[in-house]
Structure formats: structure tokens, C-alpha cells
Amino acid sequence: MSTNLEKLRSQYEDRFPKLEQGAKVLQNQIEELFKGDQRIDFISARAKGIESFLGKAGKAKYKYPLGDIQDQIGVRIVVKYKSELVHVRDAILDEFSEIEDVDKEDKDHTLFGYAGIHLICFLPEDIRGSTGCEVKFFEMQLFTIFQHAWAEANHDLGYKSDSELDFETNKLIHFTAAQAWGADKIFDELWIKKKNSKEGS
């Protein structure tokens, strides 16, 4: 192992318990924000694992990994229906200041794959102060249930696959993404129909 990587490992290992503590406090804060909100399926927060951090740090684009990698604390909020994603995002942006707000769904109508909303927000100063977390930002991913399921299933098979995927495997993975997109679309339409009929009655 190179000296630089050893040094980085030791720095991140020192930081890790504080990140875990920060993630826990942040999760409580966000759960409090959405207390009793029926749109939310679940909220979870985590500190990025040490091996996962070092793996990412090895990429050329991260010249200063401790500052460049902004998902050292990551939060995931999963909502039941797709049209609620934007409302949940707005509620988050009411509360946290952000420097990035990107809808990851492919803009090319012929493509299906990873989808969801990614935000990079400032970690609140009170959390930094009380936990000693040295990171400035955390990443928030907003998914529907189907987007979450696809991203989880694809994580090791596709996204972080050890070898290059053949044509058919790729095709199958994108086919499942299209199905997840379709399931979201249908459930959202049914949800809106139910909401409208309730309001009308």
C-alpha cells in the first residue's frame, strides 16, 4: 500500500466515528422534519464505509479526497409515489442550504437507467459543532421505492461490477430500469386518481 493511501486511511479512520455520529444526528433531524408524513416510506443516513471511501479516493478526479468526496455522510429518503419527490425535495431545500440539486433521470427518452434526485447540502453548523464532524457537506438522495430498489439491485451487479458487462446483461439491467420507471408511473397515476376522487367527494 502506498504511503499516501496509508495516510489517507488513517485520516479517514480518525474521522469515521464522528461521521457516524453526525449521520445519526442528521437522520434524527430529518425524521423530525417529516414526522407523521405519509408520503415517506423511509429515511436512512450513513457514514461512508472506510473501504468504499478509499476506493472512491483512488479515482483521478478526487485530488483532495477528504474535501472532494462529499458523500462521506449520505442520506436517503424514499417516497412512495413519484410526484411526491419534488414536494419532499422542496421541503428539504426549505431546511438545508444546497450547492447542487440534480435530477439524475436520463433526459434522453430512449434511455432507462439510474434515476432519482441528488442534493449536496451544507451539514448544519450545530451538527458539526456537537459531533466534531469535519465535513462541510452531506449528500442526499431522493428516490421512489422502485428507483431505490433498482439502484440497490444494480449497485453490485451493474454500477460496481468487477468486469465489463456483456451486451445482454446490460440490456437486461436497462430493461429492469424501464420496468421500474413504468411501475412508478402507474402507481403515481393511481395515487393521483385516488387523491382527486377523495377531494371531489
Binding site: Y64, E95, E100, D101, F122, E125, D126, G129
Partner: protein, 346 residues
């Protein structure tokens, strides 16, 4: 003299307002250059401003990112160039910032001197900039293309300089130089001077109105629910919050709020301590009437004849019965016993 900041770049420009409706582009050339601050008095004056504790600049700001795109802000890039790039690029970026200031300023603001410094201390790089108006303690002249600045011997102007300032700092990583602090020491802090934060720096205030309102109300509730306050003191506290709502205040200095509205020493200290832990870098919280009401759990209706009715949100509809009449007028019935009546001074 603060000497622990190692100054590595300074530049100054004479800036004429150039924001004229329907006329894009600069009206005149931005004159100025890299600055040689060899004169001890001037160096001491600028370095003491550069070295000010961040907290003395009251407003926390962040650069506004481009919507829907990965993290990017043009002004932040210019500040990062001044901080980390070779001197030719530092010079070019500082001139671009001076031009941007000219294009952000309209005739109401007058000509000014724009000064920018970059310095390092303990692994942190800080870039500070100021806009000094005509009655500045600094006198600037262009001699053979280079700018020369002299500190005027006007003790009042030196001790109470009238300027706008901004400080950004960080390291070279993606996470650096996103937030900073600004100050406006000019006489008029109205919308005319908003250009410093919005048009020139392309920044917005860092804490959100929702989080500021939430922090304030949770501190008020803690204070209200403690046994330290008398009934009258509790009333005064709630009236102060009510005033913030009805006057539609957009920010509150919680230190000042506590001094003015919490007379009990223990409660005041607890209130300030609570909020200082939540917001360690600033006493000023952005707030919004709508969010204050939400967090207070109060619903209010305002009528066009200045009558206002507030009640706990959870049973507002049970307590306040509204019947629609003709031409949009309403009749309101409230049931209950009067337990107190107060005449509030205007």
C-alpha cells in the same frame, strides 16, 4: 498589526457604475492593477481588515449554484482563481471581478475603489474584497498604468470606514470557497445595496428562512415552558414573536431579541446559549411569518379591516367559525371567556 496572514496577492481598481437599463456593457474602462502594498501604514490597514475574525462580518452567504447542474458558480471560480492560480490568472480574475462590480452597480451608488487581497494562514486561503466609496480613507491614483493607493490621515474615516466587504476562504477541494461572510458598512442598507450580495457576488443568505424560524421558535418554546418566567414575562415574549409575525420581519438578531424581550437573566442566558449552539457563526437568523406561525402552531386570519384572529392551529376550525357572506365578506363567531384585555401601544 495582525501579521500572521501571509499576503500573496493584492489588486485595486477604480470602478464606475455601469448598470444602465437597456445598455449592456461597461460605460468606461475599469482602471487598476496588481497592487504593491509596500507602505507600512497601508499594509497594516488592509491586513487588519483582511485578518478580521470572520464572525465580525455579520451575514453568512453561499454562492448560488446553477440550477439542475453539477456544482458551479462563475463568481466562485473567479475567487478560487485569485486564491490558488498563478499570478497572471489572479490578476485577470480580479479584473473580471472589478468589471462585474461595475456592471452590477447603477448610478445611485457612485464611483468606488475595489480592493481585493489573498492571503494564507495555517493551510487556509482567504480572499477578501472591499468596495470603498468616494469618502473612503483610501486615495487612489493611476500612475503609468499602475494603481497607487495612499491611506488618508483622517482618523475618523480610518476608524469608521464606510465600505462593503466580503470574505471567502477554504482549501483547493470541491468543498472549499462555497460559503463566506459579507458586511455592509455603508449608510444605506436598503435594496440599493443588495447588489453587493446578489448582483455582484451572486450569493444568497446561508441559513434558510425555514430553519431560522424553526430555531427561533424552538428557543422561544423552551423558554416559555420553563418555570423561570412569570406569566407576564411569558406574555411579553409571545407578544414579541407576534410582532415579528405581524410586521413580517425577515430576520432577527437573537441576541438583541433576548435583551429586549426576556427580562429574566437565567431565561435570557438559556435562550441565547440554546441559539448560539444551533447557530454558532451568526446571531442573525432569517425568518418568515408563515414559518413562525407554522412552528408556533398558530393559525391566523387577517381581515381587510386590520382585524386579525389567531388561535392554536390544531383546533382553529373548532374555535373559530367563519361563514361566507355577500361580496366576499365573512362573519366570524368565536366562543370563549375573556380573561384579559390589553391595549397595545403602537
Amino acid at each position: 498589526v495582525p501579521d500572521n496572514w501571509e499576503l500573496d496577492f493584492s489588486a485595486a481598481y477604480l470602478v464606475k457604475p455601469s448598470r444602465i437599463e437597456g445598455r449592456p456593457g461597461l460605460t468606461g474602462k475599469v482602471k487598476g492593477s496588481k497592487l504593491n502594498v509596500s507602505e507600512a501604514v497601508l499594509k497594516s490597514f488592509l491586513l487588519s481588515l483582511h485578518s478580521e475574525k470572520k464572525k465580525t462580518l455579520p451575514t453568512e452567504v453561499i454562492f448560488i449554484h446553477e440550477a439542475g447542474k453539477e456544482q458551479n458558480n462563475e463568481v466562485r471560480e473567479l475567487f478560487r482563481k485569485v486564491a490558488f492560480f498563478p499570478v497572471t490568472e489572479k490578476r485577470s480574475a480580479s479584473r473580471k471581478l472589478a468589471k462585474r462590480l461595475a456592471l452590477s452597480t447603477d448610478g445611485r451608488s457612485g464611483s468606488c475603489l475595489f480592493v481585493i487581497l489573498s492571503g494564507k494562514k495555517e493551510g487556509v486561503t482567504r480572499v477578501s474584497c472591499w468596495r470603498f466609496p468616494a469618502d473612503t480613507p483610501l486615495e487612489a491614483k493611476i500612475l503609468e498604468g499602475d494603481i497607487k493607493i495612499k491611506l488618508l490621515e483622517d482618523a475618523y474615516a480610518i476608524n469608521s470606514p464606510n465600505f462593503k466587504a466580503a470574505i471567502f476562504e477554504g482549501d483547493q477541494s470541491r468543498s472549499g470557497f462555497w460559503d463566506g461572510r459579507i458586511e455592509d458598512k455603508s449608510a444605506y442598507k436598503d435594496e440599493v445595496s443588495q447588489y453587493w450580495r446578489t448582483k455582484f457576488l451572486d450569493c444568497r443568505i446561508k441559513p434558510t428562512e425555514s430553519s431560522g424560524s424553526r430555531m427561533l421558535i424552538s428557543a422561544v418554546k423552551e423558554c416559555y415552558n420553563s418555570n423561570d418566567l412569570s406569566l407576564e414575562q411569558k406574555d411579553n415574549l409571545m407578544e414579541a414573536v407576534d410582532d415579528l409575525i405581524s410586521e413580517e420581519q425577515t430576520e432577527v438578531d437573537f441576541d438583541l431579541f433576548a435583551t429586549e424581550h426576556i427580562t429574566d437573566d437565567t431565561s435570557r442566558d438559556k435562550f441565547v446559549k440554546y441559539l448560539r449552539a444551533k447557530s454558532p457563526l451568526t446571531n442573525t437568523l432569517p425568518i418568515k411569518a408563515e414559518y413562525l406561525e407554522r412552528d408556533l402552531g398558530v393559525k391566523t386570519i387577517h381581515l381587510d379591516n386590520k382585524i386579525k384572529i389567531s388561535a392554536p392551529a390544531e383546533n382553529f376550525d373548532e374555535l373559530v367559525n367563519v361563514t361566507e357572506g355577500e361580496n366576499g365578506a365573512v362573519q366570524i363567531t368565536i366562543s370563549g371567556r375573556i380573561v384579559d384585555t390589553k391595549l397595545k401601544k403602537k
